[in-house]
Amino acid sequence: MKILSSWLREYVPGIAVSDRELADDLTLRGIAVEGVFDLGAHGSLFEMDITTNRVDAMNHYGIAREAATIYGLELKLLDTSLPAARVAARPVSVSIEEPKLCGRFTARVLLDIRLTPSSGVVAERFRLLEQKPIFNAVDATNYVVLAMGQPTHAFDLDKLEGGIIVRRARNGEKLRTLDGVERLLDADDLVVADEKKALGLAGVMGGWDTMITPETRNVLVEAAWFDPGVVRRSSKRHLLHTDASHRFERGADFNAPPVASALVSRIILEAGGHPEGELVDVVVEEAVARTAKRASVSFSLGEVRRMLGPTEDAEGILAGTAEGILSGLGCGMANAGAESWSVTLPSWRLDLERGIDLVEEIARVYGYNRFRNTVPAFSGTVVELPWAGKESAVRATLLALGWNEAISSSFCASEDAARFVREPGAAVAIGNPLSEEAGMLRPSLLPGMLDMLALNISRDVEGTALFEMGTVFSGGPERVDERPSLGFGATGQAFGKQDVDFYELKGTVEALLGKFASRSAYFDHFPAASGPAALRLTPAWLHPGRSARAVLDGATVGWFGQLHPAEAERRKLKQAVWIGELWLDRLYRQGLRQPVVEELSRYQPVRRDFSLMLPDSVAYAKVAEALEGLAIPELRIFEPKEVLRGKMAAPAHYSLLLGVVFQSHERTLREEEVQGWSQQVVAALEALGGKLRA
């Protein structure tokens, strides 16, 4: 919206500051001037951005009122005087059939007018505002909107057939509006009509048939107040957003119609003509109570100070300041005891209803930046979320191991939801999805993870390792459950010179589980080929032979492994992709592990390596079990140093280099002891079918 500073100064002659300062002062009061353009001798043009709740300030007089209040100056009254009216032989009749939808309707008849191009102030201001003039009778209504915001309409009186009726449109009734479009109306539309036909869509746009033309000699000027709701609905339904509808939708000033009517008439009559009869003004009393005469608000300075606090130079807003601001804005201030008032609210400020609204007006006009910055005292304590430490531990571990954190969409495609959901049928659909690919709330972080890995592969990134910590959803329309989850995925040379493998993932999961206190943690798997169907738990998205379940204190906390080749093919992923998900809600049931330091031995460790050939059927877990079974306290550590299969090993066998460390807390070990234990180790491994290699 464009505003002329010179026009503001006409209404508030006392403004002493420059246009630029005026613009800044208005902006700091929420009447935002976005741009100031110099018009030389004509002052400045302000480009405004007025918030939708301040429809009263979307015109020159409204902004002038703000300026007058800011500076404590007088706002000039609008000159509504008119040449004396002749007595009308037959006054216009106005009938409001829908008192809930039309609260006020004024009509004034002007006879023998002369249509000319606009001149003088009107023409000049139109030029400065880059608004195209048409001719005086039409320009007058537009000018008054710019001046004080009230929409009006001028009908060609000679085309009216009988008195004015404000009524609902009839279903199927037709009206050609000023833009030339023929509109099909229904009973939800409010129309201004004569006895024969609809003349205009109330509060939105006038009709074609009764518009002012160069032949028009007599006019009827309409200025009315329409219900915001009915105007909004008509405007929406007919896709017709006009200056008039914009204002009525947001609540126009109930007291403005007679003023606007006079201002429009003054301008038209400047070129000739006279008013015929006095203004016909039909007012619906019930609407007055909702608008112009709303209940007054009781209000005290104590409340202002309690909400706003000290100012730059006082312990709070002063009574005089509060009174000055509110009366400047148009409130009636009646004293009601010490530093308290009964405040009547201005008809043009339907946004003001409660005491807090008045507090805001005082803060706003006084200036937000003139309140002292204070910091409140606090007697409470800062509480951490119960899982905050666990979440940090998981994140820190993953970052330390070289995984990059990602965040992906909360949505996924329905076929992905079906594949990755934990319990069948528990995925939740979005009613108005952004796209088909985002039709479901993600039941798992893995669809998003796979999309991200695919993107990196397509961009030729050599190795990718990503994790995401986020919410997964399950349930249905009645109830949606949210759980924290951890998804991770890696492919290519993500951690070094070699491609990611299963053990890279397992190591990460071991490190994560190791952060939590537990009595037992283990990994297992259920190959698709073995066991009864009910026990084949491996999720369909995992390679059945290269995946594992992580179990902590008996509860499954997640799955990880190689993406199933069929799923990889469906996603056109040509290289091996390793993914997994840990259910953090389960993991977080455990406390964080508290390290308890083990006493360090002062005696020398003795290391022995055993090179073995073992049958493929003997998994490493069996080796570990056998060694633990020996129950030798001095056998401190054993670990597989190298595992070789294929050419290096016999058929159906693998070669294992097992490193063992013996150490005592009490003494230096003797050679014979170590020899004896080593023989026990070898015997235990031979019992499994292992053979010691030379």
Partner: protein, 367 residues
């Protein structure tokens, strides 16, 4: 020490002994001069002082064996002197030639270091944690709530009545199959983290100080600055006698803690359904110090926060469950900011979509 011959000795006179020892000393000096490396040094030590094959021992054995008894003392003294001299040379070789010796072991330090890959924290999480930490130090606890909310918590209790135009500004994603429920019970993706304010107050009597970071969703088409997903941090402070000045002072202190102590704040009137008075907050541009740059669009100021005093109507909704939230007795303020926007500004990220792409080339830059 190619020469392992025993130098000739033609008599036992002191003069002859001096000559012979001088010749050996010259030999020592010559061989000491060629020491270049610790290896050379060890060679020299073994050649002259070695217990079994050392030249000094060989010479002394040879000479002493044939010497008459009266000359042995003379010879012994001279050997001691010579041995001391060799040891000194050895020591000097250690000190004097070390730099040149070590220089021979020089490596190419301009080759890149061997780096273990660090994982990178997501820039949004990093920013989120930084903002939360600032407020935790000011006495705020972290509050959280569900991402799927009811209409009541997301809108109604925050003073967005049904049909209110402010609802239109927050294009909402809804859960399927809600049509038959009463409006207040319908499930939707939360459009802001503000519902957590209500949930917290319902569960906890005043005073309240919470900071609420979280993911929110809107039915927005993606472009460079919009995405259907984004992150917000909101704060809420409720107590007796909380004032607008407290709101200003708190945010001013927080912005200084986050962006640096020279940052200034200024407040402009604004409108939010759940606060009154409401304000937009600008900070002086932390990148150019207020002189104008690309990041602040040459204005010297950046709009960063929305805030205001909690609207009494919001306390009205809360007091249906917690009667202590009586707007006549308590007051409070709330504020909110977009984590994405702050992170984008801070790290110079031009396209919000990068934050949600999982593109490792982008993420690695934050390691």
């Amino acid at each position: 020490m190619q020469n392992d011959e025993i130098p000739p000795l033609s008599g036992w006179s002191e003069a002859e002994l001096d000559r012979a020892f001088a010749a050996v000393a010259a030999e020592v000096e010559k061989s000491a001069a060629s020491i270049r490396s610790p290896d050379d040094k060890e060679q020299f030590r073994l050649a002259w002082l070695g217990r079994k094959q050392g030249r000094l021992k060989a010479i002394s054995d040879a000479w002493l064996k044939s010497a008459p008894a009266e000359a042995k003392k003379q010879i012994g003294q001279r050997f001691n002197t010579l041995k001391a001299e060799i040891e000194q040379r050895l020591e000097q070789a250690g000190a004097g030639s070390s730099d040149s010796a070590l220089n021979a072991e020089a490596i190419d330090i301009t080759l890149p270091g061997t780096r273990r890959k660090l994982g990178a924290e997501h820039p949004l999480i990093k920013t989120w944690n930084e903002i939360v930490a600032v407020f935790q130090r000011m006495g705020y606890s972290v509050g959280v709530g569900p991402e799927v909310e009811t209409d009541y918590y997301n809108f109604e209790s925050l003073n967005f009545p049904p049909g209110h135009p402010a609802r239109d500004t927050q294009d909402t994603l809804v859960i399927v199959g809600q049509e038959r429920k009463p409006l207040r019970d319908r499930l939707l993706m939360r459009t802001h983290t503000s519902p957590v304010q209500i949930r917290t107050m319902e569960q906890q009597p005043p005073p309240v100080r919470i900071i609420i970071p979280g993911k929110v969703h809107r039915n927005d088409a993606a472009d460079a600055t919009h995405y259907p997903i984004f992150h917000q941090v909101e704060g809420l402070c409720v107590d007796t006698n909380i004032t607008f000045g407290d709101l200003k002072g708190t945010l001013d202190a927080a912005m200084k803690a986050f962006f640096g102590s020279s940052v200034k704040t200024r407040f402009f009137p604004s409108f939010f359904p759940f606060t009154e008075p409401s304000a937009d907050v600008q900070i002086s541009c932390p990148f150019c110090g207020g002189s104008g740059c690309r990041k602040c669009k040459q204005s010297g100021w950046i709009e960063l926060l929305g805030c205001g005093m909690v609207d009494p109507a919001v306390f009205g909704f809360v007091s249906q469950k917690q009667s202590l939230y009586d707007p006549a007795r308590i007051s409070g303020f709330a504020f909110g900011m977009g984590i994405d926007r702050i992170a984008m500004m801070k790290y110079g990220i031009g396209d919000i979509g990068l934050l949600y792409s999982g593109d490792q080339r982008f993420l690695e830059q934050f390691a």
